[in-house]
């Protein structure tokens, strides 16, 4: 069992502020994850805004320095890679970003995002070969090269733009694609097409996916495993079926219950969680981060942050409701799940 990408107890604190007190925001705290080399897997990372999703992506790409912990690619620390290793890493780990417009430099035609990696990573020996490669990648994703190439990004629709990015990722034959909310800014009717092409890409070329989203439904549809983030911490992790069909952490339960179901006969139910007074909870949290909103909070929840309890074979939950189960260490969280495969 070889690891491809691994995060160990990753913590990121953003500091800012004044002369007297530094204001610190904990974006991520003790997050671990694990993507094995084969077979390819799809891992869903679910969290609401402010849960640290985007920070996680940027850390995994080495765009941000860690505060604590380490990110390893093929066993090598991201921060200590040699030039060649870094170039390899750059090619093998690709991203699909959320905003399908922002990813295009408005100065260039769409071709720019496709030709640059081809030249930089020497994927083709001639111009015509490069062109053929690009056309092939576009066609594989269901785009017509003659309708796509030679245009400026604003001349394409959001769905087309995002698919070009999928084509770009496939061009590089990466080992991992980090998909950071790839469909949240695309119309519902086009979402399906993009997600389907991502899934096909994963199967066809053996590419592992890290699907980062706020949308539990699509995460459930596409993922093998799901990681639920709340305010920078993993609260529940496990097999997608288990986490969605039988959520254990109160936050995951709330999340699942909040999704409006496309069925007028199935009620949304009544609300039981309190509305907070202000956006910043003033007191320093010592215990569980969810305690303020948790309907089942116990005294112990205010005292100490809960560890991970392994409740099923393929699932762990950070909640004292399951204190009967065995505790597992944070950094083994990813591996604990992996035993399934």
């Amino acid at each position: 069992m070889t690891t491809l990408l691994e995060a160990r107890n990753v913590t990121k604190v953003f500091g800012s502020g004044g002369l007297f007190k530094r204001k610190e925001t904990i974006a991520l705290e003790n997050v671990s994850l694990f993507i094995r080399e084969s077979p390819p897997s799809i891992t869903g990372v679910v969290g609401e805004s402010g849960s640290g999703k985007t920070t996680l992506v940027r850390l995994l790409l080495g765009f941000l320095a860690l505060t604590e912990g380490e990110v390893l690619y093929k066993g090598r620390d991201l921060q200590k890679m040699s030039r060649d290793e870094r170039l390899e890493f750059r090619r093998e780990v690709q991203v699909i970003f959320q905003d399908p417009f922002e990813v295009y430099n408005p100065f260039y035609k769409v071709d720019h995002v496709l030709t640059t990696p081809v030249t930089k990573f020497h994927l083709a020996s001639s111009k015509s070969e490069a062109r053929k490669l690009i056309e092939h990648a576009l066609e594989a994703i269901g785009l017509q090269p003659e309708e796509t190439l030679g245009r400026y990004p604003h001349q394409l629709s959001g769905g087309q733009r995002q698919r070009v990015m999928v084509a770009r990722a496939s061009l590089l034959r990466p080992r991992i694609i980090l998909a950071d909310e790839p469909v949240s800014m695309v119309d519902a009717s086009l979402r399906a097409t993009i997600l389907e092409s991502l899934r096909k890409l994963s199967q066809k070329f053996g590419i592992s996916l890290l699907y980062i989203t706020h949308d539990l439904t699509t995460a459930y549809q596409i993922s093998d495993n799901i990681i639920v983030l709340y305010q920078g911490s993993v609260v529940e992790v496990g097999d997608a079926e288990l986490v969605i069909k039988n959520p254990q952490h109160p936050y995951t339960r709330l999340l699942v219950a909040s999704i409006p179901v496309s069925d007028p006969d199935q009620s949304w139910g009544q609300d039981s969680t309190p509305v907070l007074v202000s956006k910043t909870s003033t007191k320093l949290n010592r215990g569980c981060k969810f305690v303020d909103r948790c309907p089942g909070a116990m005294p112990v929840c205010h005292e100490n942050p809960p560890p991970f309890f392994q409740t099923d074979g393929y699932r762990a939950v950070r909640c004292y409701l399951y204190k009967e189960a065995s505790v597992i260490a944070d950094e083994t969280m990813g591996k604990a799940l992996d035993q399934k495969g």
Binding site: F14, S16, G18, L19, F20, T25
Partner: protein, 337 residues
């Protein structure tokens, strides 16, 4: 957190004054290996004739303190200490007058004229500029726009020349130069104040005309963007009256960046004011500076420039202190990512 902001601004104030003093000290010395001030002072003293005795003594005193035998850092420390005490020494051209006395005599004129003109042009310009961007404002305002555009581009003192020619030389409505008439005895009487006002109309107008255009343009640009904000649309959906939306929603928010750029532009504005004073022979710091320059009076130049810098730094500080009162977010903004 507001205290934090306050201290930061105060720190910036000190930094600005220190940087200015250091630049003034360092730049001329970088240009030449010798001590140019001392050299020129000596030359002036030699040429001064009648009053050379006092000057000679001064040069010696200078030499003792700033002489070339002293290391640069010590010269610098002496210099900083003197600046801190506003001790600029004696005027070379008007010996035995002290520089500080000369400067304090000119100071009220500049502060009065520059302060009033800047305030008037900022208020008028900002309001006018906001109206220019407001769709429901009277149409005729739009005709002023090209005029403002042109005026804002032209330096103050050129406008001053034209005004002087039209209203003082050709039509003789206003006096040609000076801060008050020679025939009038300075006193705190109504005729004297009227005389002062009459003398400051043209230089003031020169600054206001050019300034109004500048501020109007800035404000108009920001207002155009500001009117696209969601809270303007929501205010309209609330069925609010046009006046309330204009003042409380649109203008109020756009004022924030406008005040920021006001603080940034003060330095530019006073540079213009100095030259306007020169054109009108107005008895403020600008005219004093011209005199100092033409008389090679280095102590006086030093003193005037340093005081001008302090005026601007203080004014900027005051505007900065106004800001938290205008913007409730100021104390939180830094905490955001």
């Amino acid at each position: 957190m507001t205290l934090d902001y306050l201290l930061k601004r105060l720190g910036f104030f000190v930094l600005v004054v220190w940087a200015a003093a250091t630049l003034i000290f360092l730049l001329p010395r970088l240009a030449s290996e010798r001590n140019p001030i001392l050299e020129r002072m000596g030359r002036t003293a030699a040429a001064a004739g009648v009053i050379s005795e006092g000057l000679d003594e001064m040069v010696k005193e200078w030499e003792a303190k700033f002489g070339l035998d002293q290391p640069l850092w010590r010269q610098y420390l002496y210099y900083l200490r003197d600046m801190l005490h506003l001790d600029f020494g004696y005027s070379l051209a008007y010996y035995p007058a002290k520089v500080l006395d000369q400067v304090t005599r000119a100071l009220p004129w500049t502060i009065g004229l520059f302060g009033m003109a800047t305030l008037i042009s900022f208020v008028l310009g900002s309001f006018g500029g906001a109206l220019l961007a407001w769709p429901k404002a009277p149409r005729f305002l739009q005709y002023f726009l090209p005029l403002f555009l042109t005026l804002s581009a032209v330096p103050y003192y050129l406008l001053g020349l034209v005004l002087l020619f039209l209203f003082a030389f050709t039509t003789r409505i206003f006096p040609l130069s000076g801060g008050y008439s020679v025939a009038v005895v300075p006193s705190l009487s109504f005729p004297f104040i009227l005389d002062i006002l009459r003398h400051s109309v043209l230089p003031g107008l020169a600054m206001v005309l050019a300034g109004v255009g500048f501020w109007a343009l800035q404000m108009r640009g920001m207002m155009v963007l500001g009117l696209e904000e969601d809270y303007i649309t929501f205010a309209e959906a609330k069925g609010l009256g046009g006046k309330r939306i204009f003042f409380r929603y649109a203008l109020r928010n756009v004022l924030l960046p406008q005040v920021t750029s006001f603080a940034l532009s003060l330095g530019m504005a006073i540079s213009g004011a100095i030259l306007v004073e020169v054109v009108f022979g107005y008895p403020g710091l600008g005219t004093l500076l011209l005199k100092a320059v033409s008389g090679f009076d280095y102590n006086l130049i030093n003193g005037v420039v340093f005081i001008i810098i302090i005026i601007i730094a203080v004014a900027t500080l005051l505007v900065d202190l106004l800001y938290p009162w205008l913007d409730p977010r100021i104390t939180y903004r830094r905490g955001m990512r």
